[in-house]
């Protein structure tokens, strides 16, 4: 018995000694300075991480393909991941990307405020971080932001709704309802605010009437950007508020929700209202052609991905990427240098010209 105890101790001591003899201790490998100036050069052919949110809309699926193809043809190794399991999965994916040694990480965040720890890890490991489409909040560890001008998107949506209503019926008042995106997506509020910058004065002067009274962002949100949630809310609104009143228009933040709203209205057997959208999803473009959905926004994912990849190439070669906005995007800790692409409103009037270059939508709209 005693002998075995000794043997056990001896083994432990040996193991500790072995540990001590490996001597090296920690190394500072993997870090190439850790500065965030954006001037790091890393070898061409490095792995580039792209962390995307849930696979809930066509745009994200398209982005995956574009990133894979674009990065490969630019000579990089793409590492594109979707986080269908929510924020905690995205956190683990970004950590894994850092472990894999990705030199630059493009983040399309589920919740831009909940990735601070991972972004710090990325920075500590010397990786550059680009926020894609959605801003990363409350962290100093984000280098660039590339997106469509989201406030502008909202403005265009608000204006399109007004135009559509006027075209339908020359004078008000118009009955409308408001839908916003998911509250955990920082852009949702920006879209909504942009739209309300146009709509609020008209609500105040009585031209527009939100019959349900649900005018605030909190009341209008659609959890998780989920079509089913929007459809349920629309069902409820129609059943509760529009038994006799007619519904003239609906502000919808994107195409998926717009179609859900239209589905709900059709199911209730009501005349179709003017419904806005965003993203130029195939089904919605068809819907516009069929005269159902009123408008969408063309934020060509190709151009956005293209610019993101251009930024990757610039960072790789040590150049400072092109920036066109250094003031607007304060994330709570720093003002993130941004490159904003202009969105384009698409209605039946310009649908045939808007997608001429688009390989998928082009043929449909011809």
């Amino acid at each position: 018995m005693r002998m075995f105890g000794k043997a056990g101790k001896a083994a432990a001591v040996a193991a500790i000694a072995a540990l001590a003899l490996t001597a090296c201790g920690r190394t500072d490998s993997g870090s190439s300075g850790g500065s965030s100036s954006g001037s790091e050069a890393f070898p061409k052919g490095s792995s580039i991480g792209v962390a995307l949110p849930q696979k809930t809309s066509e745009n994200w699926v398209l982005a995956e393909k574009l990133f894979n193809d674009g990065l490969t043809s630019a000579g990089f190794k793409p590492d594109v991941q979707f986080a269908n399991g929510g924020v905690s999965e995205q956190q683990n994916q970004i950590s894994a990307m850092i472990t894999k040694g990705d030199k630059l990480i493009i983040v399309g965040a589920i919740d831009g405020a909940q990735l601070g720890t991972q972004l710090k890890q990325a920075k500590d490991a010397g990786a550059t971080v680009i926020a894609y489409d959605r801003l990363l909040l409350n962290t100093s560890n984000v280098d660039y932001y590339v997106a469509y001008d989201n406030f502008k998107v909202g403005v265009l949506q608000g204006q399109a709704l007004l135009d559509g209503l006027k075209a339908k019926k020359p004078s008000g008042p118009y009955n409308i309802e408001l839908f916003a995106g998911s509250p955990d997506d920082a852009n949702a509020k920006v879209f909504f605010d942009g739209a309300m910058s146009i709509l609020q004065p008209k609500i105040d002067d009585g031209t527009l009437k939100v019959v349900s009274g649900q005018k605030s962002f909190e009341q209008a949100v659609t959890q998780g950007w989920k079509a089913e949630n929007a459809q349920k809310r629309m069902d409820t609104l129609l059943a509760g508020t529009y038994t006799s009143a007619s519904l003239d228009g609906v502000l919808s933040p994107n195409d998926t929700l717009a179609r859900a709203i239209l589905t709900s209205v059709k199911a209730a057997g009501k005349p179709l209202p003017v419904v806005t959208g965003q993203d130029s999803e195939v089904e919605s473009v068809k819907s516009i052609l069929a005269g159902e959905q009123y408008s969408t926004i063309n934020k060509d994912t190709r151009k956005l991905v293209e610019h993101a990849i251009t930024m990757v190439q610039d960072v790789q070669s040590g150049k400072t990427p092109e920036i066109n906005d250094t003031k607007s995007y304060n994330n709570g800790v720093k003002t993130v240098p941004a490159y904003l692409l202009p969105p384009v409103i698409v209605t039946l009037a310009n649908v045939k010209t808007a997608y001429v270059d688009d390989p998928i939508l082009g043929p449909i709209t011809k």
Binding site: M1, M3, F4, G5, A7, G8, A11, A12, A15, I16, L19, T22, C24, G25, R26, T27, D28, G30, S31, K55, D79, Q81, F82, A83, N84, G85, G86, V87, S88, E89, Q91, N92, S95, A96, I98, T99, K100, G101, I110, D111, G112, A113, Q114, L115, G116, T117, K120, Q121, D124, A125, L137, N138, T139, P183, D184, E218, V221, Q223, G224, G332
Partner: protein
């Protein structure tokens, strides 16, 4: 072969789940070209899963007692947002905020425990209601916004042991912890062997114990080495430390204390427990309450790691925790399960997740693989039980806690010889 059998107590399959874990680690270590066992990745593994593992500790007790808790994700989210708001609006210091969070968890637990234990509504229903209720509360009080928490609170979810003492090239505190763990393992093995011998119970052969100790300690030392040699500024992570402390406490409670015994008794046969003087209502109440306290803690750790609390925190966590518990050998009918087993089960899932991410396998395929692993692990266990062998995991954990199994057919195994000296 015979030697191997002895080493694993007569049945090499006993160690199935630990083998599976080790095999998975080795598999990924090879196929990710050595990126699995790096300091950074091992730290990530603990940081990114500690909250699920903490939930699994509470969940295994709930499941042993014969219940289930579906509300843990929502409770975690509600506690998380409440604490974040309390810090922001009431300017609570972080330790007061943590206490506040634990207290809130206890209150929620008391609510759920009341309905489950004293009103007698099945926990499945109570916690299904709780799942909706506390998700709603989260989004109500947080107005569906994401609320950031200050840096000192983030330490809870993303902090590391500090650098103390001479510059050795290692993190000194981590090394110290590792050595304490080794000493503890050796000491307790020797002590339990001595008492077993003194009581005249069966003991393993000496070389078996030494080999086991060497293997276990080698694993601890290797882990220590990994944690101590990470990037400067990193070391053994705080969530990992919290987890380790909880595993020790709850492992001890479940195996060695009166309340632990009562939980197994109530889950195994409530009527028999009641007729032995166990207050089953109190046990059920405590188990449900404890779960919500741990859910609150998990929520706070997640908020610390995420640097903010969001409206969709904790979605799906209950399923991860429940999966860990069942992979870890617990029975749906209650009465069976161990804390350590659940942690191993949770680690199997975590390593799988992490390895597949390192390999760049998509989220869709990852879910498919995880689903199959869950089914396979439990099916394997069930198959072994119906074959009349002991539950792998149950046997494996014998030294750590308690678990048992039902004999397949009592008429086959009993042979009573009448001894009558009339």
């Amino acid at each position: 072969m015979n030697a191997l059998k002895k080493l694993f107590g007569g049945n090499t399959r006993q160690f199935g789940m630990i083998f599976a874990l080790v095999a998975l680690v080795i598999f990924f270590q090879i196929f990710t070209s050595g990126r699995t066992l790096t300091p950074g990745n091992v730290i990530n593994l603990f940081n990114g899963n500690s909250y699920i593992l903490i939930l699994a500790i509470g969940m295994v007790l709930v499941i042993i007692a014969g219940h289930i808790d579906l509300s843990v994700g929502s409770v975690a989210a509600f506690v998380g947002i409440s604490v974040a708001l309390a810090i922001r609006d009431w300017h609570l210091p972080w330790y007061v905020a943590v206490l506040f969070g634990l207290l809130l968890g206890a209150l929620i637990g008391a609510w759920q425990g009341f309905w489950t234990a004293y009103v007698g509504i099945p926990a499945f229903i109570v916690t299904l209601a709780g799942m909706l209720l506390f998700r709603g509360f989260n989004q109500f009080v947080g107005k569906s916004n994401t609320v950031p928490v200050p840096e000192d609170f983030q330490y809870l979810g993303s902090g590391y042991l500090p650098e103390i003492g001479p510059k050795t090239g290692y993190n000194n505190l981590t090394i110290l912890l590792g050595l304490i763990a080794v000493a503890f393992v050796i000491f307790s093995a020797i002590r339990s062997r001595r008492t077993a011998q003194a009581l005249g119970a069966e003991v393993q052969e000496g070389w078996v114990m030494v080999t086991k100790l060497v293997l276990v300690n080698a694993a601890i030392l290797y882990a220590t080495y990994l944690f101590a040699t990470g990037r400067p500024g990193t070391s053994f992570p705080i969530p990992g430390l919290i987890l380790a402390v909880l595993v020790l406490i709850y492992g001890f409670i479940s195996a060695k204390t009166v309340i632990g015994r009562h939980i197994y008794a109530v889950g195994g046969n409530r009527h028999a427990a009641e007729l032995s003087g166990v207050q089953s209502k109190k046990v059920n109440f405590m188990v449900m309450m404890n779960m919500s306290i741990l859910a609150g803690l998990a929520g706070m750790i997640f908020v610390g790691r995420s640097t903010a609390s969001g409206p969709f925190d904790g979605v799906g966590w209950e399923l991860d925790a429940i999966a860990a518990v069942f992979i870890g050998g617990a029975a749906v009918t209650g009465g069976v399960g161990t804390v350590i087993g659940s942690i191993v089960g949770g680690l199997v899932m975590a390593v799988l997740n992490n390895g597949l991410q390192l390999l760049g396998v998509g989220a869709d395929l990852t879910q498919i693989i995880k689903g199959l692993v869950l089914l396979a692990a439990v099916a394997f266990d069930v198959y072994n039980k119906t074959q009349g062998k002991k539950s792998i995991i149950g046997m494996m954990m014998k030294n750590f806690g308690r678990s048992s199994e039902i004999a397949p057919d009592e008429t086959t195994s009993t042979k009573e010889v009448i001894s009558k000296e009339a």
